[in-house]
Symmetry: D2
Subunit: 337 residues, 4 copies
C-alpha cells in the first residue's frame, strides 16, 4: 500500500485525491494546505486524514511514502526537492517546474535517492492520444508533416502563470509523447491584453529535424472552447476534436496530390473518413496506475522527470521567443509614432 | 456601356467573364489567351468575342475601354502597366502585383491617366465581411483585441505562388477593409513539404498599434477545408465559419471576465449567441458593380490601387519574415547534426 | 427536516439518494431493496442508513416521513398506495403507474390523507424546458402549430416496459407542462424487432384543439443518441437539441410565408437565429426543491398526481393505438401471403 | 440524336432543359408553355427553339421524338397519354400522375406503342442513394429493421399539391429503389395549418413483410431545412444527412445489444463510424443518361412506369390514410366541445 500526501488542496488537489484514493494499492493519508477552509474541505472528504498547515511537516511524516504536488508552479521545485531529499516519491502537477535547470536538479535527486519523479501530464493518458500513438506506431499516417493545435477558451486567467505556461504544457507533452523528438527551433509571439506582463494569447511554432512543423494557437480570449488538433501525414491525416463526443477523432484517408485547376473549387475532401470509437474513461485513472507502476517498479516512465524536463525546456524556449517578439512589436509601435 | 477585355481565360477568367457580362452597363468584347483551347472555350461562351493570342494586341484595341487581368501574378505588372499607359481602366486579379514598388508605379500611372485601377479582392464584397464591417462601424464589438483566421484546405498547389501569396491576400484585404489600419510589425514562419522553394504551410502574425493582434494560419495540407475567422472584442466576439451555410456568423455576447477557479471546467460559453441571417448572393456581383462605379465615377474605391498596395506590402513583409524564419530553422537543424 | 425512505436502489435510486440527501431540509434515513448487494451498496454511501429487505416494512417505519419509489413500474401502484395509506408523502419514479384508474386512486388517497403525491418527471425542471415555458408564456412564438420530438438512442432495452413507456413519459410530461392542454386524439404505431411483445420503435401523434399537432419519434435502435425537439409557432420557431452543449436552444426568427417558386431552392432559413444561454445545473435539484416545497406547503404542484395522471392517460391512449396499429399491420401481412 | 420537347418551362423545366441538352445524343428542339414570358425565357436560352403555346401542338411535331412533362401534376396524365398515343417517348416530372389507375393506363399505352415511359425520380440517381443501394446489395447492413426519414423545410407551399404529394415521392421512390418490396400497410396523419384543405405537415408509416418499418416525417413548416435519413440493420446502421457536405453518409458499426443498466447514461454510440466519400456530380445527369438508355435500348428501367406506379400507389394509400386520420381528429375535437 502506497501512502500519499497531497500538497495543495485548491482546484486540482481534490481531483488528485479522488483518483489516487480510488486505486486499490494507494491510500491518501495526509493533505497540506495553508488555508484552513481547504483543510476543512479535505477533512469532509475523508475523516481520518492527517491535515498539515505546512508542506514540509507533511512531507517528513513517516506515514507518507509519496507526495503529490498541486501547489502554484513557483513552489513546485522547493517542495519536490524537499520530498525527494527525504526519499519520497513525487508526482508534480504540470508543469514540472520553472526551468530546465530546476528539472535537471530534481532528476538528479530522484536518481540519487532511487525514487520515482513523475509529472502530471494527464493528456498522455487521454484515450485519443493513446489512439494517435497507436496510429503513429503502426505508421498509419506515413511521414508526419505537421501538428496543428487550437487550444482556446474564455477567461480562466491564472493567478501565477501566463497562457503559455497554462495551456502549452498539454500540447508539448502530447508532442513529446507522440513523436519522441526534440524540436530544433522554437518561435513564439502573442499579446497581453488584460495583464500588462502576462500574455493571454500566444502562438508557438516548433520546427523538427523530421521536417514536421508544430503550431500551437493558445488563447484565454475565445468565446468558444476549442480543443482541435490536426496531424497531417503523407498517407493519412487526423483531426482530433476533443469537444466532439460522438466523433472525437476523424482519420482522413487523404494525402497531398496536385490536381487540375478545374477541380479546385468543388472538393471538400478527397478520401473517406473513418472515426474510430474512442473509449471514454478518465485519463487521470491511467496516470494514477502509471504512477503506482513507476513507484513499485521501473522508475522510467512516459511521464518521468526526463519527459517533464523536455516539456519545461520547450516552455523556456517558447517563453524567451515570446518575450523577444513582444518586445520587438512594442518597439515597432514606438517607431511608428 | 463599358467594353471589357479579359487577359487570361484559365481558372478565374471565365468567372470574371460571367460576372462582368451580366452587368447591364458592361460588355465583354475581347479575350486574350496564349492557349488556343482556351480561346476556343471563350468563343463557345460568346460567339462575337474578339479573340487575341497576345494581351498587348487586345489591350490596344479601340473597342476595349477596360482590361481585366487574370493571368499569373508574375505578369500582372507588365500587362496592367501597359493597359494604364493606353488609358484603359484596369481590374487586376489578386494580388495586385509582386511588390510595393510595382504597386506604387501602377497607382502613379492610373492617377496620371485618370483611369480606375482596381484589384479583385472579392472578399471585400462577401456578405459576411460586409456584416462584420457594419458591426465594427457600430462599435458592437468594443475594442478589438484579436483577429484569428484559419484558412486551410487540401492540395490546390499553385504553379506560380506559395501558400502565402495564394491565400493570405484574402485575409489581408479583409483586415485592411475592416480595420483601416496598417500593421506595425509582421512575423511569419512556415514550411515547404512538397516544393523545396515554395512553402505550403505558413503562419503569419501581424501586430497593430490599436493593440489588436492578427494571426493567419494558412495551409494547402489540411484534409478538411476550413474557413474560420474569429474576431474578439471587449464587448462581443464573432466567429465567421464560411463553410457553415446555416450559421455563417455567430456573435457571442461574451466578454473577458476573471472567474473563480471552481467554475473553470463547466463553462463552454458565457453569453447568448446571435446568428444574424447572412444574405446569399455572389460577392463577385458586388465587385463588378463597384468596378463599374469606379470607372464611371470617383476613382477612389475600397478595392483601388492604394488598397491593393497595402495588401501587397503586407505580403512583402510576411514573405521576408517567412524566408528569414525558414532559413533560421534550417540553420538550427544543421547545428543539431 | 423531512426524512425520506427510498424503495429500490437499482439504476435510479442512487440518483434520487444523492439529490434528496443534498437538500438541507431533507435526509434519507432508509433504503429498501430485495437485493443484498444493492443494500450493501447503499450502506457504503451512508453508514447510518436503515436497510430493509421489504418495502412495506420500510414504509411503515416511524422515522420515514416520505417515500421515494424507484422500483419497476408494475410495483409503483401498490407501494405508493401503501405509503399514502400510512400518511407518507410519495415521490414516484416516472411513469406514476400503469393506468389512469390506478392514478385516480392514488390521487384520491393522497387527498384524503392530505399528503403530497409527486411524480419524478425530471424534464419539467430542465433549464431548456423552463426557457421554453418562459417563451410560450411571453407569447414569443405566437400560435404554436406543432411539437416534433426525436428521442432515439441505441440499446437500453428495459426489462419491464416497452419503448413507449420508457421514453414517451419525457415528451408527454413536457407537453403537459408547456401547453396545459389535453390532446383530443392520439394515434400511434411502431414495431417490435427484438422482443416479440415489446415495441422498440414507436411513433406517436397527438392532436390538440388549439390546432397544434404533436409528434414523437421514439426508438431504442438508433446508432446515435438524438434528443431533438422542434416547436413551431406563427411568430418564431425553436429547436432544442439537448446533445448540443454550446447551443442547446436555437430560436429561429422565422415564420411561414409563401415565396415565389424561383427562390425555393436557395433558402436554408429566413430569419436570424438566437441562441440564449441555457443555465447548466442538474434538473433533479429543482425537482427535489419542488418536492420539499409541496411536502411542506401547498400540495398542488407542476409534478403532482394530477399531472402524473394526465401523462399516464396519454400513455394509455398511445398504448391502445399502438397495439391496434401493430395488429392491423400483422393482419395485412397475413393477407399478403 | 433524340429530339426532346419540354412541356412546361416554370420551375423545373429549365433544369430539365439544361440537363437534357448537355447530353451529347439529345437535343431539346421545342418548348411548350402557356405563358409568353416563359416562352420568351426559353428563347433566350436557345435561339432556334420551336416555341408552342399549346402542349398538344408541340407533342405532335415531327421533329419531337420524346416529351418531357414538367407541368402541374393534374395535367401529367393527359399530356403523357397524348404523347404516348403519338408514339413519343415520355419523361414525366414526379409524381407520375394522380392515381394508380392513371399510371396503369400510361404503362399499357407505352407498352402497346413500345416507347419509353419514365418518371423523373431524381433521387434514384443521387450518389448517396447509389451508395446505400451498394451497401444493401452487399448485405453490409444485415437485416434492415427501419427506414426513418426527416424531410422538412420552410415554406415552398405548392399551388397544386399538399406536403405529402410534394415531398413523399422522394422517400417513396428511394424506398422502392432500395428495397424492391411493396409495403403491406400504410398509415398517415398530419395537419393543415395554412390552407384548410392542404396538409402542410404529414407523418407516414409504411409496414413491410420483411419486418422493416418505414417512417417519413414531412413538413413545410420547419425553420431549418433537414434532409436526414436513417437506416437501421442488424449489422450496421447508416445516417444520410444530405445537408452535410463533408460527411453526407455515416455508417455506424453498431448493432443492437442489451447492456447492463449501469452503462446506459454514458454511451453515445457503440462502434466506429465510417464516412465513405460521396461523389459530387448532379443526379439529374445520371437520370438523363438513363433516359437516353431506356429510349435507345431496353424499355425497362429503375425509373420506368412500373416504378412510377408503385410510388403513386404508396401516395394514394398514404393520402387515404391521411384524410381518414384528419377526419377522425376533427371529429374528436368536435366531441370535446
Amino acid at each position: 500500500m502506497i501512502r500519499f500526501g497531497i500538497c495543495g488542496f485548491g482546484y486540482w488537489g481534490p481531483n488528485l485525491f479522488r483518483n489516487l484514493n480510488t486505486h486499490a494499492e494507494i491510500e491518501v493519508t495526509a493533505v497540506a494546505d495553508r488555508s484552513e477552509a481547504r483543510r476543512h474541505q479535505a477533512r469532509s472528504v475523508k475523516q481520518d486524514l492527517k491535515l498539515c498547515e505546512d508542506a514540509i511537516e507533511m512531507i517528513e511524516r513517516a506515514d507518507v511514502d509519496a507526495v503529490a504536488v498541486a501547489t502554484p508552479v513557483a513552489t513546485h521545485f522547493d517542495i519536490a526537492a524537499h520530498a525527494l531529499r527525504h526519499g519520497k516519491h513525487v508526482l508534480v502537477e504540470k508543469p514540472l517546474c520553472e526551468s530546465g535547470k530546476q528539472a535537471e536538479e530534481l532528476i538528479a535527486l530522484a536518481d540519487s535517492k532511487n525514487v520515482a519523479l513523475l509529472v502530471d501530464h494527464v493528456y498522455v493518458f487521454h484515450p485519443a492520444v493513446r489512439l494517435l500513438k497507436k496510429l503513429l506506431a503502426a505508421n498509419e499516417l506515413g511521414t508526419v508533416s505537421y501538428f496543428d493545435s487550437l487550444r482556446v477558451n474564455l477567461g480562466l486567467f491564472q493567478p501565477d502563470v501566463n497562457v503559455l505556461w497554462d495551456l502549452a504544457p498539454h500540447d508539448f507533452s502530447i508532442l513529446d509523447f507522440l513523436f519522441d523528438e526534440d524540436p530544433t527551433y522554437i518561435e513564439a509571439t502573442g499579446y497581453s491584453h488584460v495583464h500588462p506582463e502576462r500574455p493571454d494569447i500566444a502562438f508557438v511554432t516548433a520546427h523538427y529535424k523530421s521536417r514536421m512543423i508544430a503550431h500551437v494557437n493558445l488563447s484565454w480570449m475565445s468565446p468558444v472552447k476549442v480543443r482541435r488538433t490536426a496531424i497531417g501525414g503523407s498517407k493519412k491525416m487526423v483531426v482530433w476534436d476533443d469537444m466532439n463526443n460522438e466523433e472525437k477523432i476523424k482519420i482522413y484517408n487523404s494525402g497531398i496530390e496536385l490536381r487540375p485547376e478545374e477541380q479546385r473549387h468543388i472538393h471538400y475532401r478527397i478520401g473517406d473518413i473513418y472515426s474510430p470509437r474512442v473509449q471514454q474513461g478518465e485519463a487521470l485513472g491511467g496516470l494514477v496506475q502509471e504512477t503506482y507502476r513507476a513507484i513499485t517498479g521501473d522508475r522510467r516512465s512516459v511521464i518521468d522527470g526526463r519527459h517533464g524536463l523536455r516539456v519545461v525546456r520547450m516552455l523556456e524556449s517558447a517563453q524567451i521567443a515570446l518575450a523577444a517578439s513582444m518586445a520587438t512589436a512594442r518597439k515597432a509601435m514606438g517607431q511608428v509614432t
